[in-house]
């Protein structure tokens, strides 16, 4: 118990830049990092709500999705510690999202290219 506190007690702020695995104990990010990220997430939520009130036309949906992906990336990399994890964990974490990408692109390229069905509204097509 005491020895583990020693390992983590001296981490300080500089340890954020270190790669995981070089030392025995878990990587412990400073509290300051978590506070910065949660503030960033609050700000980006306000931005995406604000963007809904601006007339962006066909750009509205891509912007909202880009903000959501941006927010989710910070949660995955820092709150879920993937940033500091082993390469094998990157593969495990990335596999689900990569599969999602395949499923969406293959399915939607079918739906949007069905010329024999009624054409989709222009607002939706614009963003593809």
């Amino acid at each position: 118990m005491d020895s583990s506190v020693d390992t983590v007690g001296g981490t300080g702020h500089s340890n954020v830049d270190h790669q995981a695995g070089h030392h025995d104990g878990p990587h412990i990010a400073p509290m300051r990092m978590y506070i910065s990220i949660v503030c960033l997430l609050f700000v980006m939520t306000a931005v995406t709500v604000g963007a809904a009130f601006v007339e962006l036309g066909a750009l509205g949906t891509p912007i909202a999705l880009a903000i959501a992906i941006f927010k989710a990336s910070f949660v995955v990399l820092f709150f879920m510690h993937v940033r500091y994890n082993t390469p094998l964990m990157w593969v495990f974490a990335g596999a689900g999202f990569f599969w999602l990408l395949i499923m969406f692109s293959l399915t939607m390229q079918d739906y949007v290219s069905r010329g024999w069905e009624a054409p989709a509204p222009i607002q939706f097509l614009d963003l593809l």
Partner: protein, 221 residues
């Protein structure tokens, strides 16, 4: 750190706690990949139907209150922060702080569900729950039923995950109080944190897709 092998939490089939924690962590990510597939199917079906019935989805979205949706996004992000702090407290071996951050996460989780139930009650009173009591005047009513089916299934499955998360915290609290976790062994806390963050990520996508895009934000602010 040399006393790894003496820890009572170490299972006999692992060399040391580091290996055990990494295995548990990897198992959790495999489970989360399955969760991505589960919610991914719902998101894909939503995308296909949004593509087919765009106007009805916009009109349905106009009936969702942006204020409650945004507030709930804030509540859930705050709970992601508290659970991240709980994991950090566990890493540092601070049992009291760990307990407090978990209680804080529970309070925020319950607040989220409370806000969600206000929204659900509002939908009930306006007859927007698909089923025999669904009533909406307008040519798009049948397709709006599809939009609200997606709304209730997606937010309902998300809420179910929140309820399971709160159940997991109720299961963890006696263990925390008993002093089952230390700076050396805390993988149940870490893996619970991963689960809770995942549920947060699902909402990060649900909120803009259901409440924000394509709609007139001044209707049902």
């Amino acid at each position: 750190m040399s006393s790894h092998t003496d820890n009572p939490a170490l299972q006999h089939h692992f060399d040391d706690l580091k290996q055990q924690n990494e295995a548990a962590n990897m198992g959790m990510w495999a489970f989360l990949a399955q969760e991505i597939m589960f919610f991914g199917g719902l998101f894909l079906a939503y995308t296909v139907y949004r593509y087919k019935y765009f106007e009805a989805f916009v009109e349905g979205s106009n009936h969702l209150p942006i204020f409650w949706g945004a507030l709930n996004t804030g509540v859930l992000i705050a709970s992601s922060f508290t659970v991240a702090m709980a994991v950090r407290s566990a890493q540092l071996g601070r049992a009291k702080a760990l307990f407090n951050w978990i209680i804080g996460t529970m309070v925020l989780g319950v607040a989220f569900l409370g806000i969600k139930s206000i929204e659900y009650a509002d939908k009930y009173h306006h007859g927007l729950i698909p089923g025999p009591n669904f009533h909406y005047d307008g040519p798009l009513a049948p397709q709006m039923k599809i939009f609200f089916s997606f709304y209730f299934v997606m937010t309902g499955m998300h809420a179910l995950h929140m309820i399971i998360g709160i159940g997991l915290m109720i299961w963890l609290i006696p263990k925390i109080r008993r002093g089952a976790f230390s700076g050396e062994y805390y993988s149940p806390i870490e893996n619970f944190g991963l689960y809770w963050h995942f549920v947060d990520i699902v909402w990060i996508f649900l909120f803009p897709l259901l409440y924000l895009i394509g709609r007139d934000p001044w209707i049902h602010l």
